[in-house]
């Protein structure tokens, strides 16, 4: 009963805020509604017992992606009203493509038959939900059976980092940088100079 109540609460809020994402004129409001939609969706995941997905949704999508969106929207001067001007013009063609795609997907889903040999090909039996939690199950295999994938994904991220640095980092000569070893090596002798000032003459240089 109570879970049904929460389901309707989360689901209706999620749909409403998703609608507001595309309906609101102010891009900052749109991103804030997007965050609300994500939080509600993660609530739905918790109701399903998929607590790991819920955590990831909040941490990754709300914590990183949506905040990044917000940052970009606030930093860049993008005129969203102008962007939408061609919307009606492209609607028929875009709608047609969408409908065709939907029809094809329905075709595939309609032909969905569970392969009778599938149970034999599944590598490990799936334990009952109350025996082991999702997070624990993932943790058991992530660094053991799937360590190769995990490390490969790490390499992909390393390449992304190198790429970002190679393509964007510029060393400007005028910029003053903090050099910690210089700061630490500074002594009283190198940093201070005692000057005897004659009365009435001021400090030259």
């Amino acid at each position: 009963m109570i879970s049904a109540l929460f389901f309707y609460l989360f689901a209706s809020l999620c749909v409403a805020s998703a609608f507001m994402v595309i309906a609101s004129k102010n891009p900052v409001h749109a991103v804030l509604f997007l965050i609300l939609a994500f939080v509600n969706a993660s609530g739905l995941f918790i109701l399903l017992g998929a607590e790991f997905l819920a955590m990831i949704l909040v941490v990754v999508y709300v914590g990183a992606v949506a905040v990044l969106f917000l940052f970009v929207v606030m930093m860049l001067d993008v005129d969203f009203v102008e962007l939408r001007e061609g919307f009606l013009q492209y609607l028929p063609v875009g709608g047609l493509v969408g409908v065709i795609f939907l029809a094809e997907l329905l075709l595939v889903l309609g032909a969905w038959v569970i392969n009778p040999s599938m149970p034999q090909t599944i590598t490990a039996p799936i334990p009952a939900a109350d025996a082991i939690s999702n997070t624990e199950a993932l943790g058991l295999v992530l660094y053991t059976r799937y360590v190769y994938y995990f490390q490969a994904a790490g390499l992909v991220l390393l390449v992304a980092m190198i790429g970002a640095i190679v393509l964007t980092l510029r060393h400007k000569p005028q910029v003053k940088r903090q050099n910690i070893s210089d700061q630490v090596a500074r002594t009283k002798e190198t940093a201070m100079e005692v000057v005897k000032v004659q009365p009435g003459q001021g400090l030259s240089q």
């Binding site: 075709l107 595939v108 032909a111 969905w112 038959v113 392969n115 040999s117 599938m118 149970p119 034999q120 090909t121 599944i122 590598t123 059976r145 360590v147 190769y148 994938y149 490969a152 994904a153 390499l155 992909v156 390393l158 390449v159 992304a160 190198i162 790429g163 640095i165 190679v166 393509l167 964007t168």
Partner: protein, 478 residues
């Protein structure tokens, strides 16, 4: 808990070496910021690639798997890994002079090539869909960055962006296909898919179509070839030479392994797709290249056409066909790298020119370079007795043995059309009025050109090593 047995990592030793080496070189480049660092890193990277090749040569014969069956090293993998390593090492050699003249020396160049090569080796050894995807992304992501490496050049950044956006789209399609295949067979491992996919079902075929769309993008086969001419033209020339060699080999390897191992029972279903893609690529590669004036664009269309010819071998769906693909990729890589050594030697003063008309009268200004380039162009056109002829011979032979007569005939016809534009360059070099000559060809380029020219010329004398190796490699898949 068991103690980790490091012997299980042994099949992946070349990959571990390359990945670890790339990170070490990254450190070296970051902390040693003097003038010669880029050159040092380049040579160390070449040494690392050679060591990885030696490790592969020293591996025991037979099939080894590790990482729970998601990583397989067999004769097929060893053959293609050696090819990919050769291609990458040559690509670094080709870049030495260009980057020095253009003052674009950065140590990250070699590091990215190393990481990309790691991805290629992982891709070649991938025995399930997840490993395949990760290897592919590691390879492609480095390639996107390399395409835009000349970051102050508008055309290079455009090439990088275009390649990235379209590559991301194709990865999406590939993943969608992979998820459908997983959904309809219940497993991601190729062997497991082969066990489950005994009869064609609609969902499975949908999955195969999307998977193939992703594959075709990576090997730049029609109808997913649009990015190729723009990216090849816009990217710095040594990067283009790299694009046309090693990644193509790795992508072809992934196409062949995923298809032959996963779907042997439903050959009739995927064969028609491969036949169509092969015919379309061969035709487009031949006809669209005719009007080109930029030699890098021409090489792009040429590579589209050659991928079509290689796919003829895959369409045959037999061990002979796979052998044909392997021989084709080896010879194609040698021809392409030699041709790019010539293109990189097209330097007037400090500017690199890339129009076909700049080559006019090369036979009189630089007879040696003209001779070798003509030799490679004849080989690319598939004229006997050069190696390019045998490459085509083996794929067409496999197609005929599998009863695909129409495909073989169309292949021969399009290769005749393709011969036109290769011969046109030969005509420009030998019979047109000389244009201002080029600078002295650096030794590194000369060496690459000489080796690839002699390989193509003398292949007929001693073809046995390559053909036997390819045959043994192909048999390991069946």
């Amino acid at each position: 808990m068991d103690v980790v047995d490091f012997n299980t990592l042994r099949p992946a030793l070349p990959e571990l070496l390359l990945a670890g080496g790339a990170m070490a070189l990254l450190m070296l480049g970051a902390f040693r910021s003097s003038e010669g660092t880029a050159t040092l890193v380049n040579w160390l990277a070449i040494a690392l690639l050679l060591i990885a090749g030696a490790v592969i040569l020293a591996m025991p014969p037979g099939t080894q798997t590790t990482f729970g069956g998601s990583f397989v090293v067999d004769g097929f993998a060893r053959f293609l890994k050696l090819l990919a390593l050769t291609g990458s090492a040559t690509a670094i050699i080709l870049s030495l002079d260009y980057n020095k003249v253009r003052k674009r020396q950065k140590f990250e160049y070699a590091v990215l090539i190393l990481l990309s090569t790691t991805g290629m080796l992982m891709l070649i050894s991938a025995a399930d869909l997840i490993a395949l995807y990760l290897g592919l992304e590691l390879m492609s992501l480095s390639l996107y960055v390399l395409a835009a490496f000349d970051r102050d050049n508008a055309r290079a950044t455009e090439a990088g962006l275009k390649y990235f956006v379209l590559g991301a789209l194709s990865s999406g399609m590939l993943l969608y296909g992979a998820s459908l295949i997983y959904g309809f067979t219940g497993t991601v491992s190729f062997v497991g898919i082969a066990k489950a996919a005994t009869a064609p079902s609609l969902g499975l075929i949908f999955g195969i179509v999307f998977l193939f769309a992703g594959f075709c993008f990576k090997i730049s086969a029609v109808p997913f070839h649009m990015w190729t001419p723009d990216v090849y033209e816009g990217a710095p020339t040594p990067v283009t030479a790299f694009f046309a060699s090693a990644p193509k080999v790795a992508a072809a390897a992934m196409f062949v392994r995923a298809t032959m191992v996963s779907f042997p029972a439903i050959t009739a279903q995927w064969q028609q797709i491969v036949v169509f893609v092969a015919i379309a690529s061969m035709a487009l590669g031949s006809f669209a290249a005719i009007g080109q004036t930029n030699i890098k664009r021409l090489m792009a269309y040429s590579s589209i056409g050659h991928m079509g010819f290689a796919l003829v071998g895959l369409a045959a769906g037999s061990a002979e066909g796979v052998q044909g693909v392997l021989i084709y990729m080896a010879i194609y890589m040698s021809m392409t790298l030699g041709a790019f050594a010539c293109i990189l030697a097209m330097r007037q003063g400090d500017t690199f020119v890339e129009n076909i008309s700049d080559l006019s009268g090369l036979a009189r200004t630089k007879p040696g370079m003209a001779f070798f380039l003509a030799l490679l162009l004849f080989s690319l056109a598939g004229i006997p007795p050069l190696a390019g002829f045998f490459a085509k011979f083996y794929v067409f032979l496999a197609a005929i043995q599998s009863g695909l007569y129409a495909l073989a005939v169309i292949g021969v016809l399009t290769s005749v059309v393709g011969a036109y534009y290769y011969l046109l360059i030969v005509k420009v070099m030998y019979f047109d009025e000389p244009s201002p000559g080029f600078e002295r060809m650096p030794f590194a380029l000369k060496a690459v050109l000489g080796v690839s020219g002699l390989f193509n010329l003398l292949f007929i004398v001693w073809p046995a090593p390559l053909i036997n190796a390819a045959s043994a490699a192909a048999k390991s898949l069946f």
